[in-house]
Symmetry: C3
Subunit: 466 residues, 3 copies
């Protein structure tokens, strides 16, 4: 007899009964607010083509590095899951996952997936070896229906705005197609220039050439390169972008003079540089991007601290984004000073800081955001986008930065079907945190009600200019 | 209709009902104990002159960098608050604050200020734009009365002892005036030699000259410089000082031999030094101060880890202490070893360690204090002097250092009117923490009762020799 | 009238009533499971000889650095406790401890000791100055009885397996004697090669000579040295070892080629090396040990990050393990990469990582263990083997690594009588954590029941191949 799958209405709310009652009341006021998703990695082609998704494995397993990294850590070969493009029966791959679903106990993936299973697909039994085929069939069948096409799901999920993330080399054709189609869903882009900003990115020099071709600028000259950025940023803004995004190994910034910057660019664009010069160039480019943001109003997001592709063998065989990125210690106070010395007091600049190093929350990020007018704190990110992670974020940032130097929730995901679940987790955890403050008489109930709506809806729209 | 302002009797006590009942009982036994404030930044002139304070803005807003840093982070110009000495109508400045009081939700400033409003001034409505003028007038009027003069407040607040902090260059005339006045309030000083110890302090060389003039020693010679410290320490001790205080960028100590130390002093006193030499000199001076403490019995406080004046533009325009100091990562285990190798086992030495880097609580500070007889842990400091911060402090230090290697509470503030509120927060949080230990049967109720009194009153008197 | 000593049945379970009821039910299912102790520092001679332990002070005070470090931190001289072999009346030393037992409030030592007093010895009054002699006599008398001989306690404590830790230079004679005796208690060894792997270990060169003598290999040649390791590992495995253990200052690994490794070995074995070369050699040896583990199946444990013998004067007078080891910041993501690049995807390799730096839990360790098939997370260690420490471990690792990349509990102790108490604390804290997940509807009750047994019993057997 399979185990029943039911999502409890009070899940993730604090256990203590007074607090839970307050939290439930707050949650009821925000649970149905529209989803605003200002940063993520969904594919705009989905809504451009509105084609059906494929089978359960291809949609939910193969692209989700949260899921397959855990399976890999427990001895499941990635080839056997169909990752890397080998020939694998998707039903068999699904079974490998289903039989090991207990590995996810206590993880956010488990909560997101259970929501997808129960709410998106209406499944009433828990996933395990016994129900594996039933799951595979139920999901795969549903995906073939109109109700599960990308635009229908977008509307069903009550998404007000979603931002994708594209490189300056992207044509944004899917965004154009979405607008041309007459469909009203608001899918915007964001400017992520890492492939043409990071000298250590795969194909960096070729990317500069491509950027030249796209823009008509000479991107092997410093002035042409900067002009190309300005041009592409304007083009992205025309396609709805309100933000840029920078995924650097560290938060280092620099403020070289024009001659030094140009000399450095000559080195990195020629491919003749050492690691420290690549780092300095990325650092300088954050300051250049800030300068452009002051002009064109795009909000900067800085996502530092990931050691990408840590597993050399997995990278060689399977490529990027295979669950082998690792957080590392990240310093902000010294690192951001050059940029802040230059632009930190300019009211036109807005920078949203993220971290994979929670030790920086109370020590560096909250103090910085609690002083500099240009700085705001992004929500708990990636490995920390989880119930405990979000609680730590609020507990460690609120007392110094307050709530109003934060920017609501980011789902930051490519797992489209889990987006409502992720926003729901954030709403539940925030309402629980607010309820604790009320229960300890640190804020009033009417303040918590205002805050619940601000954290869910108002702050993200304001911070991302949506 | 304005919102009512009422301080709940159970504020900050744990929500869980059994635990709250225990916490409330503990709190009732300590809430009326006298305030012992062994470290802070109030102005001794207040009690020397006993002059009335000015208006609400000048007392509560302009000097409080916790408050104006938050307003600045949200786009309020410091000039418009009257900071930096410009001509601003204080009522208008107060309104800028009042209209944005929601920014402080969830911060300790909000709890401290509400106490000041409700308890010190008896105001019954919440601060917002609507009540702004009412607040300004009520507070300003009250401040003109005898009941709100510094000595009256000192007595009303039940302060047993308060320590101010002065530089060796200070004449301590206000402390002398207080004693000469016959008033019985115990206001003592503490020896904070940063201006003559830190080669990078503004005016360091002039300060050495002033120190020479004050002491009759030649403070441009190493032996004269050390003799001047000894002389001033003795003078401070005569003015009630029982402690010194050292606000260095790091916790680095050094133990140079006499020749090396003298050569280093020659460099820094001549102004011909690099940053590493300034750091080494500060490091050596901690060890010199420890040597003097062994002789004269002054307790050392080390407050490391603040990156001062991080915002270059704000520093240039407004000077020090304008809410732009940032915590930074701080190492203790390696840094303190030279001093500890020299004096760490001397029973005459007592050093109280503080941190702005909470990751050091469980990893470094509690293990150090749980072994070395000379080391004690200061309470959660500055950005961490808050309900969540204090809870983290207890949770992360108690299991290794115990309670008896801690030293009670410091308010560390210049915001005189908030001192009772700050001590009250500490008492509530400590009683809540103890109640949790009782509720989980980790200590007995009678032990918690002893501890509540120790943490509130006994340990601070013992640690600071008061 | 002495204070009663009673251990509450619900101690350490969450205070909130719903959660406590769930936790209690879970705990009841695991509290009587056998103890599996895969890593610790008990003395195998105890079970080989089965001789009675001595008096209370010699058994419970003198060898327990958790206890005497706290007393030392509060001014008790180690000589007066009988540490360092001086002539001290054990009853007088015990009194120094008894009179200061309040210092341990809130520490795990207090909970472990109370269990030993109440459960192992049946004492019904609390330890203090008044009961000091009663305690000393009761314990000392009991220790002279058959019921308190090592084998009897082993059986009474329901220990299924215990691992001791020996150097490659150890003859393992006690393990042989245990097996030869016919007694059925399972006492196995573990391979801890620090004395012959760490060039900075006291007597390193002499140790290499001893290793040569023991093995017949030339341990001053690189190949002979490696062969000697292989030989001793095999010998240890014959004596039950299933694991090795490496206590390095950092987690650094290296992957030198054979020529480089040999050249480095020549330097360190000749004693002609600088600190960085010692560090590199230890780093290389972790990779060599991994290579051997792939062949012989021994599980590697890495315990990095202790700054040993921090107090120079205490080390000079009293030697190692005198409560003066301090944790330090520990990096894993960069440090382990050379080893992982070489062997990280080999299904035959298993490495259990420990830390004294809790900031690495969520940032580095959980992400590493949640990806690499060879990596698992050891439990909260040493300073963090405590109720709050264990809670932080679960809260900060579970969401990324899950439960199944952890390995159950280690007591890691030489304090034999406290072993059941330590395992009991772990069981209570884990059941409390699981109960919180159930109460917040993050997992189901039947899942928590499976997990409670896994965390207590199944995972440790699997991870350590027991």
């Amino acid at each position: 007899m399979p185990r029943p799958l039911e999502l409890h209405r009070d899940r993730l709310l604090p256990a203590e009964s007074t607090t839970r009652a307050i939290a439930r009341e707050l949650y009821d006021t925000v649970k149905d607010l529209p989803i605003v998703s200002p940063h993520g990695h969904t594919d705009p082609q989905w809504w451009a083509s509105d084609a059906n998704f494929g089978n359960a494995t291809d949609l939910l397993l193969v692209p989700d590095h949260y899921v397959f990294r855990m399976l890999y850590s427990q001895g499941v070969a990635m080839e056997d899951l169909g990752i890397g493009g080998g020939e694998v029966d998707p039903r068999t791959a699904w079974r490998l996952f289903a039989e090991r679903y207990h590995l996810f106990r206590g993880t956010p993936s488990r909560m997101w997936l259970d929501w997808v299973f129960a709410e998106a697909f209406g499944i009433e039994y828990r996933l395990d070896g016994e129900t594996s085929d039933f799951y595979f069939d139920t999901i795969t069948d549903a995906l073939a229906t109109d109700a599960f096409r990308p635009r229908a799901l977008f509307e069903r999920f009550n998404i007000e705005t979603i931002a994708t993330t594209e490189s300056p080399l992207d044509s944004l054709e899917h965004h154009a197609a979405i607008r041309a189609s007459g469909w009203q869903g608001k899918v915007i882009t964001a400017y992520r220039p890492d492939p043409v900003v990071d000298p250590e990115f795969e194909g960096f020099r070729d990317n500069l050439q491509t950027l030249s071709n796209l823009t008509g600028e000479d991107c092997l000259s410093w002035s042409g390169y900067l002009a190309a950025h300005r041009q592409r940023r304007a083009f992205f803004a025309q396609n709805g972008a309100t933000s840029t995004d920078h995924g650097h190994p560290t938060a280092l910034t620099a403020d070289l003079n024009a001659l030094e910057a140009e000399a450095l660019f000559r080195k990195v664009s020629a491919g003749a540089f050492i690691a420290a010069e690549a780092e300095l160039f990325r650092a300088q480019m954050l300051t250049e991007m800030a300068r452009m943001s002051i002009d064109d109003g795009l909000v900067m997001q800085i996502h530092p601290g990931a050691f990408r592709n840590h597993n050399a063998q997995v990278f060689a065989q399977f490529g990027r984004d295979k669950g082998a990125d690792m957080p590392s210690r990240t310093e902000y106070v010294q690192a951001l000073k050059p940029l802040l010395d230059r632009f930190g007091n300019d009211p036109r600049l807005s920078i949203i800081l993220f971290t994979l190093d929670e030790s920086s929350y109370a020590r560096e990020l909250a103090p910085l955001a609690g002083h500099y007018p240009c700085l705001k704190l992004g929500p708990a990110w990636w490995f920390h986008d989880s119930p405990e992670g979000m609680r730590r974020f609020r507990r460690m940032t609120t007392e110094t930065a307050g709530f109003y130097n934060t920017v609501g929730f980011n789902d930051d995901t490519r797992a489209f079907l889990s987006i409502p679940a992720r926003h729901d987790v954030a709403r539940r955890i925030d309402c629980g945190f607010l309820a604790e403050l009320v229960a300890e008489h640190r804020i009033e109930d009417w303040e918590a009600a205002e805050l619940a709506k601000d954290l869910t809806y108002n702050l993200v729209k304001q911070a991302y200019k949506l």
